[in-house]
Each structure stands twice: as C-alpha cells, then as structure tokens.
C-alpha cells in the first residue's frame, strides 16, 4: 500500500483514490471529521455520542455517493451539504427541536457583530458576548441559524452556502438579513440598535 503526503492531495484526487480503494476514504474522514463535527454541533446535535453516530452516517452516505460528487462544485460544499441534511434528518427523526449550542469563541462573536455586509441597518453592539449570542441563536428559525453558522462561523462564501443548503444565491443574502433581524429581535434591545 503506497503512502501519500495527505495534505498535498486535493479533495478531488482523494475522491478518485477512495473510489479505487476503500481504505483511502480514511483521508477524507481525516480531513473533514473535525469540521463536520463542529458544524453539526452548531446545528444542534449536542451530545457527543449522537454526534459520533451522525458523523458515521454522514461518512457512510458520502462513501455511497462518491460517484455522484459533481466536480463542478467544491467537495467541501458537497460534504457539508450531506452533513447538513443528515443533521436535520437526525433531529427530525427524533422529533426534537435542535438545540443550538453553538460553539462560539470570542473571534466568532467579533466577526459576527462587526459584519455589516448583508444589512447596513442591523448593527450589533460590540458588547454582545458568546453566551448571549449562542442563546439568541438557539431561538431563531433553523434556516436562519444554518445560514448564519455557515457564513460567520464556518466562513463559507455565498456560493458555497448556496451549494450546501441548495438554495438560490440570492436567497442566501435574504436569509442572512432576516436571520440577523431575527437575532436583533431576540437579543436584548439594549444591545442592538437600528
């Protein structure tokens, strides 16, 4: 079995390798496990054991569908799409509302509150802290939470978000705008000003 310099291999090449030999699929898991674990956690799969189950399902689904990967898209968007759908279906199967225990650090919050690109009218006060923001994000619609998580905490661009959530690019901006408006309504009015 040959050895490879893992980080030098592109996603597309990894897919080709995994299709040739199943064991190479480990490279894909290695590259994306942590990212997807963090993402599904932000979407509401909070329990560690549940996340392991969901991740397992995600990667098995990814493997089954490797030939369906559209090379016109980025592999990252494609795998995030599968992760997103799997997380959503996981908590729908359990008939529970996702708990948005977002894992936010101070950089995430700073990045979020200082962003003005989608809505010049909505300005968040710099005093919003991670806990307040997490709590507010738990309370908004799941569509808004997903798009905010992808944009501000996963640092995806509009095209990638469009590919992951399978929505028109124009809708990404709309959802972000509405999501931030919804957050404004949830957060203490003292911390937000129009």
């Amino acid at each position: 079995m040959p050895s490879y310099e893992e980080s030098a291999i592109s996603d597309t090449e990894m897919v080709r390798m995994a299709l040739r030999e199943q064991a190479f699929f480990a490279y894909i898991i290695n590259r994306y496990e942590t990212k997807l674990d963090r993402y599904i956690r932000r979407l509401g799969v909070h329990d560690q054991e549940d996340r392991v189950d969901v991740l397992q399902e995600i990667f098995i689904k990814v493997y089954r569908n490797l030939n369906g990967f559209d090379q016109g898209l980025s592999f990252s968007s494609w795998i995030y799409r599968i992760a997103h759908n799997e997380a959503i279906s996981w908590y729908r199967k359990r008939n529970v509302r996702p708990e948005g225990h977002l894992v936010l650090d101070s950089d995430d919050v700073l990045n979020f509150v200082s962003s003005k690109e989608e809505s010049s009218e909505v300005v968040f006060d710099k005093s919003v802290n991670a806990e307040q923001l997490s709590h507010a994000l738990e309370q908004i619609d799941e569509r808004y939470r997903a798009v905010i998580a992808l944009r501000y905490f996963e640092h995806k661009d509009y095209n990638e978000i469009s590919d992951i959530l399978q929505i028109p690019i124009g809708s990404v901006g709309t959802l972000l705008h509405r999501g931030k408006q919804a957050l404004r309504d949830v957060l203490n009015p003292d911390t937000v000003r129009m």
Partner: protein, 330 residues
C-alpha cells in the same frame, strides 16, 4: 485536519478521531458497502430531465389545444349558440387543459429543482423558463395545426374526453333550440322510369334523423351554400315548424380545425348580420303588430305567432335571430 501526515490508509485514522474514522471504515468493510455506480447517478439525472421534458411537452400540448380552442370560438356567429361573446368564450375555455398546464408547470419546477444545479435558480426563474418553453412549443404546435389534431385524436380515443369538436358538434345537433348539423341528401320522389319523378332534398342530421327542409325564408346566398356543400356537413340555424320539418333561417359551413383569416371572419360576420337583417326587415314590412326586438320567446315557443305574413315570420322569432337583432337595434 490538514496536519501533514504520511501514512497508509489503514493507519491514517488519527488517535483523536479513531472512534469515527475506525468505525466508518469497519462498517464499510463489514457491510461490504460499495459506492453507487456512476450510471445510477447518470440515470437519476436523466430521469429528472426526462420528467421535466415530459412536463414541458404536456404543457405545450395544453397551450396548443387552448390556443386552438380560443381561435375556434365562433366569434363571427356566437349569437347562434350563446347569449353573448363572453359566455361563448367562457364556455369554450378548456378548463381541463388549463389545470393540466398548471400541474405541468409545477412538476417542471419540482423536476428542475432536483437536477444537479436546479437549486441555484429562483422559483420565478424556473417557472418562467418552463412556461416560456411550453408556450414556444405550444404556439408552434398550434401554428402547424397540431392543436386541433391533438384535441380531435384524444376525443376519438377517449370517449369521456370532451374535445372541442365534440362540444361544438353537440351544440349544433339540437333541433329543440333550432340548430342542426348534418348533410343534405337528394331524395328521389318516384321511380327513375316514372316521367313525373322529381328530385327533392332532405337533411340527415348527425343522429341520422331525416328532416324535410323548408328554405322559404332563406337568402339566395345561403341556398347556394346549402346546395353546393355536397357531401360535406353544414350547420343549419332555424326552427322545427312541425314534426320532421325544419325551416332553415341560416346556413353555415362546418369547418372543424380550419382557422379563419381575419378577412374570412369579417365576411362570415357580415353574411350573418345580413341574414339577420333580412329576417328583421321582412317582418318589419309585414306589419307593426309584430314585436321584433326582444319578443317574448315563450310566446313564440307556445305557437302564438304574431300577425303578419305567416311564411315570412318564423325566422324572425327564433332565439338566435332575436339575440343578433339586439345588435341591429342598438
């Protein structure tokens, strides 16, 4: 996880994430999971596009039939069968096809959404493009006469399908309301060896009932049309004056599927108005005792005829003429 590692796949699951990586590889091996073939995804994509294409074609058929029917509404002689132009148009509209068109537009959107890149476009874009393509194909189909052919063929294949031709035919085969459709047949009165034999004419309607026809109030141009039709079907507007006898007040050709040009429509309309005017003026000349404009239809139906020349008044009191007379009276 972009740490630089040099490892064979079997040892490539790092310790920190071995629980997921190891489990996944183990399950893949244990369940002998294999990726779906490329053909599977290709077939799925083909299926979705085919379903979209079928939706578009059915939508185009709906457009073609709708256009054919819209153009075929008897705008030129609508008074013969309807109270006004609006009711003529509304009763002709192919509601089944309009519903089918709406359904196919919806299905086209659903199918496009399920193509690989379909999600990138707004619903309005998908809807607009699908409708546009259906319209384009539908207009083309109608332009080459397929709207009529499709409607007619479906009507022949499916008894329950109310093709426009069937509807128009049924509307004109209604002697109680003064409408007949059928063929003029020569009828030899006597034997061929009989020197006194004469050839008269009877009219066989679409239900094969035979009528003696009375052409005493018919204009010459209508008589010419009636007798020149040969074996072709014609429509008669008139009234049944007694059992088995039909007094003809107007004759119209039966041309299913033929789209009239603007000039032809204008000429047909003029001829119809002229027919109505002839009957209107004929009665007016007989005497003031006849109420020509909007007379009591029920009275006529009950046989209480107004005074005047009995041979020249039946046509003036049939419903179709009365409806058209309102135009003249305005």
């Amino acid at each position: 996880m972009n740490n630089k590692t040099t490892a064979s796949p079997n040892q490539s699951c790092p310790t920190t994430t071995r629980s997921v990586c190891g489990k996944v590889l183990e399950q893949l091996e244990q369940d002998q999971v294999q990726p779906h073939s490329r053909m599977y995804f290709h077939s799925r994509e083909c299926f979705v596009w085919s379903a979209w294409f079928i939706s578009i074609i059915i939508g185009a058929a709906a457009v073609a039939v709708t256009l054919y029917i819209s153009f075929s509404v008897p705008y030129t002689i609508y008074e013969a069968t309807h109270d006004n132009l609006l009711t003529a148009f509304v009763s002709a509209l192919p509601y089944i096809w309009l519903v089918i068109f709406a359904l196919t537009a919806y299905l086209a959107i659903v199918n496009l959404r399920n193509t690989r890149r379909g999600y990138r476009y707004r619903t309005a874009t998908l809807l607009g493009s699908s409708i546009f393509i259906s319209l384009l194909i539908g207009v083309t189909l109608q332009a080459i006469g397929h709207g009529y052919q499709l409607d007619r063929t479906l009507g022949q294949w499916i008894d329950a399908y109310p093709s426009y031709e069937k509807q128009r035919y049924a509307a004109w085969q209604n002697p109680d309301e003064g409408r007949l459709i059928g063929t003029l047949l020569p009828y030899e009165n006597g034997t061929s060896s009989d020197a006194t034999s004469t050839v008269e004419f009877v009219f066989a309607d679409s239900e094969q009932a035979v009528w003696q026809i009375d052409t005493s109030e018919l204009r010459q141009s209508d008589i010419d049309l009636l007798f020149s039709a040969g074996e072709q079907e014609v429509r008669l507007m008139g009234t049944s004056t007694s059992p088995g006898i039909f007094k003809i007040c107007g004759v119209f050709p039966w041309l299913p599927g033929k789209t009239m040009s603007r000039d032809q429509m204008y000429q047909t309309r003029e001829a119809f108005i002229e027919t109505v005017r002839t009957h209107y003026e004929a009665v007016a000349q007989v005497g003031d005792s006849v109420t020509v404009v909007a007379p009591d239809v029920e009275t006529v139906m009950e046989g209480e005829r107004p005074a005047g020349d009995p041979a020249r008044r039946d046509c003036a009191h049939i419903a179709a003429i009365q409806r058209a007379e309102r135009l003249l009276a305005q």
